[in-house]
Point group: C2
Chain length 661, copies 2
Amino acid sequence: MCIDGLRNCNGFCFGAVASCQCDFAAGSCQYLSGAHGLQALGWPWKMAHAFQTGHRTHSCGELRKEDVGQLVTVCGWVQMSRDMNHFAFVDLRDRYGITQVVFPKEGADEAGLQRYEQARNLGREFVVKVTGKVVERIQKNAKRPTGDIEIVADQLEVLNSSSTPPFKIEDATDANEDTRMRYRYLDIRRNPIKDAILLRNKVTRLVREYLGDLEFCEVETPVLIKSTPEGARDFVVPSRMNPGQFYALPQSPQTFKQLLMVGGLDRYFQIVKCFRDEELRADRQPEFTQIDCEMSFVQQEDVLRIFEGMIRQIFKSLCGHEFPPFQRMEYSEAMDRFGIDKPDLRYDMELVDLTEVSKGKNFKMFDDAELVVGMCCKGIGSWSGKKVKDLEKKATGQEVGASALVWLKINPDGTYDCSAKKFFTDEDYVKWVEKANAKPGGCGPGDLLLIIAGKKLQTQESMGKFRHLMGTELGLRSEGFRALWVVNFPMLEWDEDEGRFTAKHHPFTSPWTEDIEKMVSLDHKDPKLAEVRANAYDMVINGVEVGGGSVRIHERPLQEKVFSVLGFSKEEALAQFGFLMGAFEYGAPPHAGLAFGLDRLCTIIGGKATIRDFIAFPKNNMGRDTMINTPAAITSAQLAELSITTTVDEDGKPKASGYPA
Amino acid sequence: MCIDGLRNCNGFCFGAVASCQCDFAAGSCQYLSGAHGLQALGWPWKMAHAFQTGHRTHSCGELRKEDVGQLVTVCGWVQMSRDMNHFAFVDLRDRYGITQVVFPKEGADEAGLQRYEQARNLGREFVVKVTGKVVERIQKNAKRPTGDIEIVADQLEVLNSSSTPPFKIEDATDANEDTRMRYRYLDIRRNPIKDAILLRNKVTRLVREYLGDLEFCEVETPVLIKSTPEGARDFVVPSRMNPGQFYALPQSPQTFKQLLMVGGLDRYFQIVKCFRDEELRADRQPEFTQIDCEMSFVQQEDVLRIFEGMIRQIFKSLCGHEFPPFQRMEYSEAMDRFGIDKPDLRYDMELVDLTEVSKGKNFKMFDDAELVVGMCCKGIGSWSGKKVKDLEKKATGQEVGASALVWLKINPDGTYDCSAKKFFTDEDYVKWVEKANAKPGGCGPGDLLLIIAGKKLQTQESMGKFRHLMGTELGLRSEGFRALWVVNFPMLEWDEDEGRFTAKHHPFTSPWTEDIEKMVSLDHKDPKLAEVRANAYDMVINGVEVGGGSVRIHERPLQEKVFSVLGFSKEEALAQFGFLMGAFEYGAPPHAGLAFGLDRLCTIIGGKATIRDFIAFPKNNMGRDTMINTPAAITSAQLAELSITTTVDEDGKPKASGYPA
């Protein structure tokens, strides 16, 4: 049966109506019920209400004062059930909110009394379906969007029961992470995780809208690709059809997106899973997601402009934050000022070069050093000896790695106290403080100047880490967003272990035109190669590298040269990347691109501490999913089909006899 | 230097301007040049022209008559270069189109003469950058959107040269597929492949818009999951950190999307890569893409309504095709009428049940048969004996698999001719034709009635395949789109090889409530289990199953029962799917969903023959990517780290001595 103005078709009612009265409970027009301003349908297959289904008329998040008087059906989880003055109150929760349902005892008929009894005994997380009338609440709950109303239940159906969950579905939880991971499906019911997952969805939607509007075409590149020894360790996949051979999972779609540029696609992006079989210390996952982008016929400036725009748009939409135009900072400047290539600009505490003003006083630590560098911490000059001692431990600990810490207290009365006072006088201190004072934030009475010394790069990096620690300790890292581009990275860095230069970014990054000469003329171990600059750039927000990229090489001879500088033999280069160099021979356009780490980006936008919150089903630091219990042994039949065997037994111990290689 | 009304910031000019005159060639305001109605910028980081970059002002597809007089720069590939009457003409191509560039010899200064010489000698697929003035063409090319104009070149720069490509970059190609795959980056430059990739991007954009508007949340489920023996063969990934253990790549995110429903996410979707290690005959790929969807608190009808709406929207937007409401057809009806569960409704030729009217005439083939089924082919009653003989071969060939074919010609004069005329009379034929005539399309003079017989299901399936072949042969399968839902599938099908019932859809599909009793009461090998119906549905367009799904089981006891019917021991069920059944104990909501095969869907929308056209980098039928040459051997160091070894040598031959298991 269809109401006026609607056509009946295949059991559905549809048509363009502006409003309608329809009795859901009676079963007629089940897809078009609801009294309050039925939206014009536009598309006949859409519901009158967005959340309406055969099981419900509304979600638990949408009923308001305007709905009072309506007969509605809602479904959800029992957040809690309580009995107060002969009323059973049930808080019913779904993704969209919580609605209070009430079951009165007074004046109830027999069925009503049964419902009342049933309701007051509902366990947490039971799944129920309730039909009833929307009424205005006497005691409103201003904290809830639905807090003006409640539903007086006419019908109650338990759709599913629930055992007592291992932790409560509440915003704050004291469940440990192991338990939360094993029951991730319950963890996802909690607002902090649910909201993180919904936020991630919003971020990807905004990315796709922004890039789609600029004619970027999303292309899926393959997941089963080829293992290459360069870079991080690959996950591999044995091929049954090609015995003894393996696919690898991509660490990034780098070469494929470049091939798409050779293919003339002009503007590519992909939100794509990438894989690295690395140690999972810190906040890493074996599978992670990149927003991967590439453009043809562009210069570095185009990439920065377009993707700065994208990030601005996202932060504006989701955080209401409008960035000023992103600062550009040279890699070398970032190292000099912050001791790191991804500086957190939310606080000052810049590095102070004290090399000139600290030498020649017979203090060996400074005299021997290539660099003496200080950092002024505001307002902690009054810290106790014990707390300062702790700082010394921090400075020389594994995380910072300085050989020793020297400190200078600038007392409120203008006097000084220094941990190396045997060697220095007030005159020296004045010079030090002068240097520190020239930096943003300054340095004066009540402050503490921390100083370390040693080899230049190592000392800068140590102080950069120390600055990070102190920023956290002093609570400077919590507020707002600060973004910048770090540009002009070095092309190469020396790898002590491998005894060769490796690519700072990756082997496909183009060097500065004026530096190509060096690459051509110098031996591939010449230290001067460290001076070659790359057309590479990183986007940094709040001290986190959220994205990075480069202008690529698009000419075969230069690409060959770079491989040779990186220590590849001609044969190795050909075997691994011959397909790309081959492609460069058929009209490769100039191109450039970058990739964002989606997990990290979301973590910053959402203001959380761990990327795991933004991953629906993360793995632990042993790469395990404890919920589904993987990885796991596979059958010997599977191994045989794949022409492989394991060299360990069921306990992971090496098997007695090794297989002849 | 910035023009009026624009602010200069970090080297960019920006501001809200409606139009501007700006000299691109002079290098000022490089990001805001262009004379014709500069679009209001809205977002300061967007270009004046969508395709403008540091290298170009316009794409090769956008210049029109209105642009005449402008100084522009375009980049692209040389489609062709020719010299006519002292003018060199170059067709410059990019993703967006082709623009003609002209280099005049007459009246040229020395630089102009050089450019002319350079231009007329440009090779195919060279990448060039041209600056010049837009002029109106005298001889317009109505076939090209840019055909009213050409660019008179002032500057020409070769950005990259090209070797002669192995095939021409033209719509029609005679290059074989192997060559096209090895040079896929060149194949992608061809319109048919480029357009297919762009179409796929449009499809996914529409899907995301439609589902996003309905509050479906896109969630990434893990790629490194757990191997399960049920269903197709898994690809596996050895875990380095967990020696002897393996991840598997997902065949679909089925259990994860159900866990998201248990987690209260309510509406989930994902456009996601799935993996099956199957033989790659026909049009299959080891990695393929699903539009994967799931909803809570819904009934089958909700799923059909919402996803029918999605498909309608896509076809309307991309093909201008408006479907009538999709027909619903029972599985059994589809088998009876078309001999297949994915009937192509673009043509009639329905199956005609002749069992009753064909028995008792001492024709053993019919008398012994459970089913005698005919199919009337219109207008081929006059086919020669040879052509009819070919039909007999087809019917008994591997593809159709009938034991024999009987045919009846209905001659134009009303007489009959039958291949089994020893046994039958005109009286019989009249009855047969009567039956056939009752079907849509009818059967009469000039037609040919084809008949096969045997066991019911097998005979239906054979005739279904025969119908498909004849539909192709008679050219009935080419036009338009016909969609339907096939519903009410059987829950189980008997697997002769395994000697047990397997799930027709998958083990998580719910049976009809009224049929649960059978599953509970019957032994797991009882043939009556074949009668259990499932809440499962397939969407079929033009004879292709583009999507399918089911209402899921959400209660542990029923799920346990289904596993036991499928022959799982309690231990096996727990080991493989314990996590899901565990989740069902904590308040699992009723839920249902489906998945579309994106590759197939695009193939139908794009009207192509192969899904490979819609995959940027497909693999061949040995699972190889011949462009990057994978799969490939990995190093022994990699194998050792992964605690595995191969049981074959470099040539894929088993190694001399097996490794002790």
